[in-house]
């Protein structure tokens, strides 16, 4: 029950309270660039969620089994070359960023092939945006967040397992989708308005984004409130 509760809190935190776009400022480029129409935005959000989930899966696996200090596979390989004590101290975290970015690039390739094979019209409508997801900060950010909960913890028992990592990936992507779809809906309305010259395009989008961020600030403290209510904190 504790575990389900934890997953629930991670999920709403990633999707609403600490929304990737409106709180952490990652994934801003597609947020401003792609959010003109709701169906495009929905497609983009779906693609990002899909890629984020796969990328988090790959990066969690590689971090836990190869990269983190004392990881099983590296330790086993190193034990052929050095003493077991030295092998236990092996720390490959310096390679983290390189490994992550290449795993994200491969996830995007994989998703691209999948979409091209099974959903050709969707693939056509995406155009150039699908490969551009590789440079989407949100995905790398999700992987880095997962890493910080594995490598940076004091308590090895508190390191995130796969369930928590996937929860962050899926719901972080969903939060991104929510933000971008809301923005698209607003922009569709804005297209019918008379916007002053200097504000046309990105400027008015950013200001609307600011108001959206203010609205999402209303979610702050929700997770600590739930935690407090369930733990009986006064």
């Amino acid at each position: 029950m504790d575990y389900v509760f934890d997953i629930f809190l991670i999920s709403i935190s990633a999707a609403l309270i600490n929304n990737f776009v409106l709180y952490y400022f990652v994934g801003i480029c597609p947020f401003i660039g792609v959010s003109r129409q709701v169906d495009m935005a929905l497609g983009m959000g779906g693609a990002v969620t899909f890629v984020m989930t796969i990328a988090v899966l790959i990066s969690w696996s590689i971090t836990t089994f190869v990269l983190m200090p004392g990881a099983p596979i590296s330790r086993w390989v190193a034990s052929f070359f050095v003493s077991p004590d030295q092998a236990a101290a092996i720390d490959l975290t310096i390679l983290t960023y390189i490994v992550y970015i290449f795993s994200i690039a491969s996830s995007v390739q994989f998703v691209e092939m999948y979409v091209r094979k099974f959903y050709p019209p969707l693939y056509k409508s995406f155009g150039v945006f699908l490969p551009l997801i590789t440079t989407n900060c949100a995905i790398l950010f999700a992987c880095l967040t997962v890493m910080s909960h594995i490598v940076g913890v004091d308590n090895p028992s508190e390191a995130w397992d796969l369930g928590r990592a996937l929860a962050l990936g899926i719901f972080g992507g969903l939060g991104f989708t929510i933000a971008i779809v809301i923005m698209a809906g607003i922009r569709e309305e804005l297209d019918l308005c008379d916007i002053p010259g200097p504000f046309k395009g990105a400027a008015i989008t950013l200001i609307v984004g600011g108001i959206l961020a203010m609205a999402f600030m209303g979610f702050a403290g929700v997770d600590s409130g739930i935690r407090a209510a369930l733990n009986g904190m006064p």
Binding site: Y23, F25, I28, Y97, T135, C137, F199, I204, I207
Partner: protein, 205 residues
């Protein structure tokens, strides 16, 4: 094909006319994230400048050895390596700042500015031109970050780089250092830049 811009032109273009943040709208993630204070903004600009310079020089050195379809892989590898180095150096010698900047330093890897410059300039022109381009773009990026950070920190805390500037009677606009303030400040400054640009073009034409 038209003549490619010279070093001097690349440098000057990067600062204002082709400013990566205000004109090309690239690299917006760090622009909004680290500009809550002047010091983080400056540190980020220097970090990006270092990575961009090294990456541009590296790519320019091997530009004639590289086939087109491998270039993205090589760019990414180069940038990721230099970002790792910069991240570690920051953690070793500027630990509190490294904690403040947090995950935004590794996010330099996916910063569109650097990949874009590698693609547009470094993979086609000499080392000198590529360096000039990197320096110009970094200067422009730094200028954009500093402009936003100044507004946010001044209005949000009354201080600049920690030094109190406004009188203590100033009611701190806390929203400025929070996420909405980032969006609003950047949006308004962008509108200002667009207006200034249009006014300048109007005067000329």
């Amino acid at each position: 094909m038209a003549d490619l811009p010279t070093s001097a032109e690349r440098f000057i273009q990067g600062v204002l006319p082709e400013n990566p943040v205000y004109r090309q709208l690239l690299g917006l993630c760090p622009t909004l994230a680290v500009t809550s204070g002047l010091k983080p903004a400056l540190t980020m600009s220097v970090a990006v400048a270092a990575v961009m310079l090294c990456a541009n020089v590296m790519v320019s050195l091997i530009r004639n050895l590289l086939r087109p379809h491998l270039r993205i892989v090589v760019f990414t590898l180069t940038i990721a390596t230099f970002v790792t180095v910069v991240d570690r150096v920051l953690a070793a010698y500027m630990y509190p700042m490294s904690k403040t900047l947090g995950p935004y330093i590794p996010l330099i890897i996916v910063n569109c500015i650097i990949i874009c410059r590698c693609e547009v300039c470094a993979s086609r022109q000499s080392v000198i031109t590529a360096s000039a381009d990197a320096l110009g773009q970094s200067l422009g990026f730094g200028f954009a970050l500093v402009s936003i950070a100044t507004v946010r920190e001044l209005l949000g805390t009354g201080a600049l780089a920690g030094i109190q500037v406004l009188p203590p009677a100033w009611p701190q606009w806390v929203i400025m250092v929070l996420p909405p303030g980032a969006f609003l400040t950047f949006g308004l400054l962008l509108a200002l830049v667009n207006w200034a640009d249009a006014a300048r073009k109007g005067k000329k034409g």
